[in-house]
Subunit: 345 residues, 4 copies
């Protein structure tokens, strides 16, 4: 079969690869119908994630058709239409029992990281019964690709961790795909004000269209002062960090109000300065999280009932044999205005 | 009357001072019977808290007898025996309505900070109805002095914020008075293991007596490795920081397990490095809090029912006219083995 | 001044009455600009609430202008534009400190019940600082009248107690004003499905317009079976009882799914049969609540940001001197299709 | 092998029975070392549980040694020492993913009910990976038998559902084995007062020994008045119903304070009168629950750290071939003073 293979820092190849086979009795083999590219795939290509070795098929998102199941799989059978979660969960270990699937001792985020992923014609999914979701007849496949990773990430790491509540004022720092996913899902809890902060006016314009009530371009370095002024010096109830660099995290520290929550979503590569000398008495919480996809069942119902238009995030379409172009387009997002790209396998 | 007055950095004086008078209709004047010294008082004397100006009577803890009440005070009358909370709360503002009394817009921690405090014969307590608590006949006054600040601080900032739960494993970094207050109150939630960490073997021995199940002397710099080994590399469910310096906070970052909480109790004077490059995917929370004393009603019942022996924290007794000696003893705690000192006014 | 006075069972009179005066230092006198009638007022007239004695001015909802304040009132001054909460809260007692203002030991729901109410030119509001809310310039007064009682009641007793969550399926039994208030505020949490149940097709049509996704006319006695079929025999996650009779409560018992919540909003006059023989192992919760109006600050922000159109509930307008007509119209709601009536004083 | 078999109402037999075999790949066969009898077994014998057909081996509690595992079992192997949970959980279905194992669509409480149980030499346990727990070397097996059902039942249905909190006042109605299990586990949250209510002075004396602070013999019909007097008419914060008849549930309704929780633990056979005419405005919650055993991992740590002495509940010992005597002793508990009986297989 054909697959997109990581070949080492800055190198990737779309090439012929052996079709995956059942290894454990709880595995399934899925024929991919649609997949996509994640910012994390770009991180791997930059060499930021040493857990991913050269030779690995990338990708941890997608929908497809069950091709084959191991003897212990009971919830799915060949021909079933399924959503693939970016997180594999055994359902048995201490962490899975606590609903913290991201830390499953034999799973977590392994697809396209420590085992071969979804940017291929077929993928092996471990712990199939607890890592795949049935797709209802007539559901919109493209919308569901957004449920593999980006929507649950924005929702769990940003909105749920951030304790967004009706009537609250929230800020989201970073208007890229994951910040926008947080924006879309934050509205499930009806905050009164959603302030979107970014360096790029185009992305802020998109945020307005997606439901932000106010936007702040932080290029001038005055974003913190602007937000404090907008909130009559109270600060925000929730600040969602959706970038992953020290400057944006410290901005969250500056705008968080007493009793508020800073919910980190960004993938960070270095330490940030935590200003406990001003924050120690602010009664705040800071949260981190690798998405557990524990919210996927709820998100499936929400998307099915048209409460969120997940397809708003999709800007481009490619065929699997165009995946190198898709990477190029996704990688130059500032120019191409790409958010999520759908790849039809 | 006599009072202990802050005179500027490193200077204090026990001197004659005008007796306080009712200023607002919600004020009360309390004749102090017992007070104590807090680590924060030493911080003021070091010049760490510029909010406190020279000329200020120090002290934010104590019990006493109501001497006079303003016309709007309805819950207390002269002669009532009361506990003074370190936090003054109006009960009306946005923050008080959320139970976050520490951020009361006309109160919070002001006693012995921005208004005159309790290390005196009399003190004026603002918002008396919502900042004083009646003392039951026969209650042990000395035990109750521990409820002005140190027990609610350990309990709210450490134990409640830290979400200590039955069966969990917790670590407390810092075995000084506030760390020991966290240790005493953590046991209200019956964790299976309480690991106490400090540089001082004497304080660790006290911690054992107070209920710690294990102790680690961190002098050798291997505390993180030791705790990880003790927990089979899982880390702890809750890490309570009760010192207030970067090294101890970073130790908490190193030992916190997936899904755990770092509850900051220490008063910090500078930023700490937050290692988001390793913590971003750990599903942890970090909390900060100035004590709200919202737990005081519960703690009063707990102490009254002998579920906590608050007096364990008391090591020395002085008369008010010996308060300079009391400061000396409390300030040289490593030598004198002082925890809390009672000052009888 | 003129006022609507309860004269005994089934008797009321619009008559001249002495203008209220400040009694306690925390009182305010409010000149009413708009008030309304509540279903509870009809209950009083039926003799269902013996706490309300003949001679009492009815009404516990309204907005107005501060006319006079007692000496201990600090948050308001004459001329301020205010929303009057149906619940008076001292902010000091054990229950107020827990945020359970409905059980304030010197307040709770007393307006138009045990003290004179708002269906008059003036009203005395006890505990003014913690029972009134400032109205922003330019706010829509009529919408805010809905925040005195009906919206917080639907929200707190139905939606918050019912733990409505994004993606969930909820049922609301009773499509009268309070059921519709629950319907409007339930959408703040974006349930996937909202099934509205009533005997009256007109009210169900209104519910559809207000956001119900499905409706069930329960006249045929098959509502439980219908809901179970609609939910593939799972039952609903939340059932909100908004009528107050045994039959509707038992309907909730029949349709609640495992792990669900029955949130009672209705005012009941007799016991209901709780079928523990089938419910003991269903892992459900049943909640009751007199509105605390603790959600009023949040609802004010939500209405101000146009997230809820509170005015949808208003069907009729009257002048204060037409209040007997207003009662007649409100009392014959099935015929007049009245929901809430605004009375301009 | 030998087993205790239900033969129809009031009939049971200790007889030869075929040894169980692996049916599904996730099954295990356990050689029982210790089991016990539950009040529910007596209910079955009375004919109260039609789900249990004649011919069924009874028993849903016990510890043992893994004899054989199905091909999909990964967490256990022959020779492992295990605790058997009374609830079988697939770990995959909608309810298991929500932690509500009691409603597992292919499990729940099936052992000794709809499939053969543990009062035998061997038992087949479905969903072995998620329904068995490893026993640490040196652990006390008899104490662990209390973790199959009775301790998690008292803890989850009574204490956790009842939201027992430090400093609170709780009442437990029914001082039989499950009420005493609630009493033991309630102390994990350090309530200030625990009022135990029963008809039997012997059981109340045991309750005192187990940690009750006060006891009330309800024989005189004045228990409600007594409790209200003991609480200065406030009522209790939590009332745990551990009997299962209307009178005891209604007693809970009478003594619950505003904001409190009635946590039902008892197995009920008929409806009870819910006095909504007095409770509708009390801001209470009523909860029901079939134990999920989701707390078993925590309880294992708690028992291992000697925070609860589970063996306090054990009063008698028998060999498996004496199981008919054991039933007799357990069935005449008022006379024999039996709480839990250990049966050594």
């Amino acid at each position: 079969m054909k697959a997109l293979v990581y070949k080492g820092i800055s190198e990737k190849s779309f090439e012929e690869h052996e079709k995956p086979r059942i290894i454990n009795p709880t595995d399934a083999i899925i024929k991919i119908t649609k997949t996509t590219i994640c910012g994390t795939d770009l991180h791997i290509l930059k060499g930021d994630l040493p857990s991913c070795s050269p030779g690995r098929i990338l990708g941890h998102e997608g929908v497809g058709i069950v091709d084959e199941v191991g003897p212990a799989v009971t919830a799915f059978k060949p021909g079933d239409h399924v959503l693939i979660s970016c997180v594999s969960a055994c359902g048995k270990c201490e962490y899975c029992r606590r609903g913290m699937f991201s830390h499953c001792t034999t799973g977590g985020w392994i697809l396209g990281n420590t085992i071969d992923g979804t940017q291929a014609e077929y993928v092996r999914t471990p712990h199939a019964d607890t890592s795949l979701y049935p797709i209802a007849t007539g559901a919109d496949e493209e919308a569901l690709v957004m449920l593999s990773d980006i929507l649950p990430t924005g929702f769990e790491c940003g909105v749920l961790n951030g304790k967004v509540q009706p009537g609250n004022t929230i800020a989201i720092v970073g208007s890229g795909p994951v910040g926008l996913a947080a924006l879309l899902t934050a509205q499930l809890y009806t905050p009164a004000r959603i302030i979107m902060i970014d360096l790029d006016d185009n992305r802020l314009a998109i945020a307005k269209r997606f439901g932000a009530t106010e936007t702040v371009n932080s290029t001038d370095g005055n974003a913190a002062a602007t937000v404090m002024q907008m909130t009559e010096n109270r600060g925000v109830d929730t600040a969602i960090e959706a970038v992953g660099v020290p400057a944006t995290f410290e901005l969250c520290e500056q705008i968080i109000g007493p009793g508020g929550v800073i919910a980190n979503v960004g993938v960070h590569g270095k330490p940030v300065a935590l200003h406990l000398e001003t924050l120690w008495d602010r009664n705040i919480a800071i949260t981190t999280r690798l998405v557990d996809t524990s919210s996927t069942p709820a998100l499936l119902k929400i998307v099915a009932s048209n409460r969120i238009d997940a397809k708003l995030l999709i800007t481009h379409h490619f065929r699997l044999d165009q995946i190198l172009d898709a990477y190029d387009t996704f990688g130059r997002a500032a120019e191409t205005k790409a958010l999520k790209v759908i790849i039809n396998a």
